[in-house]
Symmetry: C2
Subunit: 63 residues, 2 copies
């Protein structure tokens, strides 16, 4: 499976936000995510970087 883990950028470190993300929808400044377990989360932010082969999404939270 090709899901990825989503992390929040916290200064110089990264905090796991959601594991095994499949779907990301960007709507009005919010990122809505759904993972392969059917869990859903929403955060105000932008995708700053992705490395898909590494299964990694980095999110910058916005206000």
């Amino acid at each position: 499976m090709c899901e990825a883990n989503a992390y929040l950028i916290r200064g110089n470190s990264e905090e796991l936000f959601m594991e095994a993300v499949d779907i990301v929808e960007n709507e009005g400044g919010f990122l809505k995510m759904r993972n392969i377990f059917g869990e859903q989360k929403r955060i105000k932010g932008v995708i700053r970087r992705m490395a898909l082969v590494e299964h990694k999404i980095l999110i910058e939270e916005t206000e």
Copy 2:
């Protein structure tokens, strides 16, 4: 491998922008992509939706 194809949203259809994308960086409104073949492309736009298990990234071009 878990790369994805990036498509541009064109009205009701989708136009292939880049195959086998690995890295996406979002910098100042531009998306810089690199695929597993080492090719690079840049476009002004936002990631509107991703479906990673489906290997799909949808990009909305901005002005």
